[in-house]
Symmetry: C2
Subunit: 471 residues, 2 copies
């Protein structure tokens, strides 16, 4: 008899591993696309090597979401601009007649939806290992490295790990998530031998884990010193690159905690979490009100930026606004940000109290600093701004002065009304904020809630405030 | 022409130095009382040496408040109990016909008001220097030490210093004040030569000042190590005693600040501060409300204890209640205590907000502590007490739990209703609190304010929140 752990894994594997016919379908589509791109390149006299990369090339894609990466390796003699002109044209021509979206990461590429399969056509330079020119030049080397050493069985382990990471919300190196890439999943399975092996080790990962699978460094401490990120996987094809550079501490911690929890009580929900059921509006209002805190929603229109740029700017702006609120003495309990990546963005700041007293304590110099004390007294004794004091407390002068901002909502309206660029709101966010900001408090958010099902799910989860696998 | 400083000092000296006839009056009264006590002692067969001590003996009393200390030095063969029996009887008999109050410091003594002059009749043991038995045995040695070296001129300087210290609120070694004793003033003038000399030096006193006028210690660092108090004056008659042991840091700081301010802008108000004019009730209410904070008054009936015991217990209880409030996450902006020493006591606690959210953040273990994390999750996931979470923040589990006390007034009523002995309210205070506590908020204090002119002055000063000389 199998253990519950083995049974769950077998069940998930059945779901994530494509059948033989599905596999053939994807591979033949990939082959067709390679041919098409190759033809179009030839047509334009571009000397390019066309290859399938990524999960399809390495046989690690998830059955329900295949994504075909077609790479065009062009000579380094081609100027970078060509990625956005001739290369893009080749890609467009090759996928003519299908839905196409122009994308931009470090450089432009094309996304197309061909027979319901997502396809990326990405240019890169054909370089010698180590002589990287553009960010995607390493990808073919990754494929060539992984493909020969990842057998069918371990490909399945990778699929399990990816599905698990998706389920617990730590999959994906994009800025929004800050999690684990597919390549990183492959290397983890190679390093630890299996899906369960990865989870077992993850449960014991210490403050900073550094993995050097290829043994590029004589001593692991050398690698430790070189990289700053919370988790390090030295790239087998480039000793100076951390494959896990995108992994944020929060995602790492969540993966560690989820790994422990799953091993302790294996359950399908780690791979396939139940859909979030948004609270009924009356429930929502009730839940917000019984918290007794003040939840402030800063809502504004969409921003014309690709997701990585959008999320980078949203996160940066969130930090700036949090700082602004804290600098004005409000206690921030929690904050978060939501975006539908199109038409609407919302920051959430939950503070202890919406209002602060009209006066605030202002610490003056310690008594031993004679000159500064005199200056302090000249400024505050009998001043209009003085509410109480000055007096000496614990060896230093103290005065209570009038507080400028006693209402966090007023503070935000005042400081962000012009976009808040000067308090650190990122450029593109600032413009949208200036044009369309609306500050809502507590159950006033019902408006957004009712109009945006995705926001409703998000807010329901926010109030729940725990990972979905912690049921 | 004299400087303003000299003029002010001359003016004050005129007011504080008794005239020749006033002096003769006091001295002859003292002499008469010595005779009386001597007779009564003889009558009872008590072999006692009767002497005048204190400011009258040393010619340093303030004209408007002479206080005659008559000491009875009895042999060490007499049991301590005799201080409260036969010695007290002698004192009573000697001041028969005048108002008498039995007092108790370390041991019993008698206070009497004779011809409008306060008289203390205090027993002590006649011992060799250093062989102290009771706390007052040193007093005659202090008199004998100071008298021969403090001339008429320097006696005047002591009077100035005492008046200054009274004016700025730092005079008196009693627990209520925690300030400078008369003897300490005398030693300061001896050490620095004059009133202004004391102030000039005080303005520059560093974190811990140690004065060893008699040079008992070879190195001042030896004395520094021996004593813990913020200010040290080694007793010339007892190298192991700090004459300034009663001086609290707050009073020391205030004296330092007042000294600087007076030297910078000499003014009579330092010696004779204007009376506090209580605010009109409507002004009071307005002032409290515009602060926007919450001022909580805990009022309770009088306590049958001598002032030093009363104030000691009040201060200790104040610290305990402050801690209680802070432990429940309320932010205490300031606190204070008032007592008329008879029928009514009031604690003041000013907090930032009366109410806190219904939930509070509860920090769990860091992720690396596996066992503790499991325990934490078992306890909080889905518990009735859980409002939100648990989730991971900055490497540790966090959960929001229901807060027990969201209203500081309810908290105080609940925790102090039984007297609050188990939260650290001192014994005698606890009894009075249990019997009669009333918790008032903000302008509800109007009730106390209107009924107690002394409290009205106190609260007016509290709201002003600054030393009276800082006009």
């Amino acid at each position: 008899m199998n253990s519950p752990l083995e049974e769950i894994c077998a069940e998930v594997l059945k779901r994530v591993a494509p059948s033989v016919s599905e596999r053939e379908q994807v591979l033949s589509l990939a082959k067709r696309l390679v041919e098409k791109v190759r033809e179009e390149a030839k047509e334009r006299g571009v000397e390019a090597e066309i290859r399938v990369e990524g999960s399809v090339a390495k046989n690690t894609w998830l059955r329900d979401c295949p994504e075909i990466d077609i790479f065009m390796r062009v000579p380094t003699t081609m100027p970078r601009e060509a990625f956005g002109t001739v290369c893009l044209e080749i890609a467009k021509k090759a996928t003519e007649g299908y839905e196409q979206i122009e994308r931009f990461a470090e450089h432009p590429y094309l996304e197309a939806i061909v027979d319901n399969v997502w396809v990326n056509v990405v240019p890169c330079y054909r370089v010698k290992r180590g002589k990287w020119v553009s960010a995607t030049d390493r990808t073919p080397f990754h494929t060539d490295y992984v493909k020969p050493i990842l057998d069918e069985q371990r490909g399945g382990e990778v699929r399990l790990l990816k599905r698990f990471m998706k389920g617990v919300g730590v999959y994906g190196a994009e800025i929004k998530v800050g999690g684990f890439s597919g390549y990183l999943c492959e290397l983890l399975v190679l390093n630890y031998g299996s899906f369960v092996g990865v989870l077992r080790s993850a449960g014991d990962w210490k403050e900073r884990t550094v993995i050097d699978y290829e043994g590029h460094y004589e001593r692991i401490d050398d690698a430790k010193k070189l990289f700053e990120e919370p988790f390090v996987m030295v790239d087998p094809v480039d000793k100076r690159r951390n494959v896990a550079a995108a992994v944020r501490k929060e995602r790492l911690d969540e993966f560690v905690a989820a790994s422990r929890a799953f091993l302790k009580a294996p359950d399908l929900k780690f791979f396939y979490p139940p859909e979030v059921e948004p609270l009924e509006p009356t429930e929502l209002v009730n839940k917000i009100n019984t918290r007794g805190s003040t939840i402030v929603f800063i809502s504004f229109e969409g921003i014309p930026a690709v997701p990585d740029v959008l999320w980078g700017q949203l996160y940066r702006s969130q930090r700036s606004v949090r700082k602004l609120i804290q600098q004005h003495d409000f206690t921030v309990l929690r904050d978060d940000v939501w975006s539908n990546e199109k038409s609407l963005n919302t920051f959430i700041f939950e503070v202890e109290n919406r209002f602060l007293p009209n006066m605030k304590r202002h610490l003056g110099p310690p008594l031993r600093k004679k000159q500064e004390c005199e200056k302090f007294l000249r400024k505050h004794v009998g001043a209009d701004s003085t509410v109480s004091g000055p007096r000496i407390e614990e060896g230093r002068w103290v005065v209570e002065v009038k507080r400028k901002h006693t209402d966090v909502v007023n503070l935000l309206n005042e400081k962000l009304g012009d976009g808040g660029a000067c308090v650190g709101v990122a450029e593109v966010v600032s413009k949208a904020v200036a044009d369309s900001m609306e500050v809502l408090v507590n159950d006033e958010a019902l408006k957004l809630y009712s109009a945006n099902p995705d926001f409703a799910k998000f807010l329901t989860e926010y109030l729940e405030g725990k990972p979905r696998w912690l049921a």
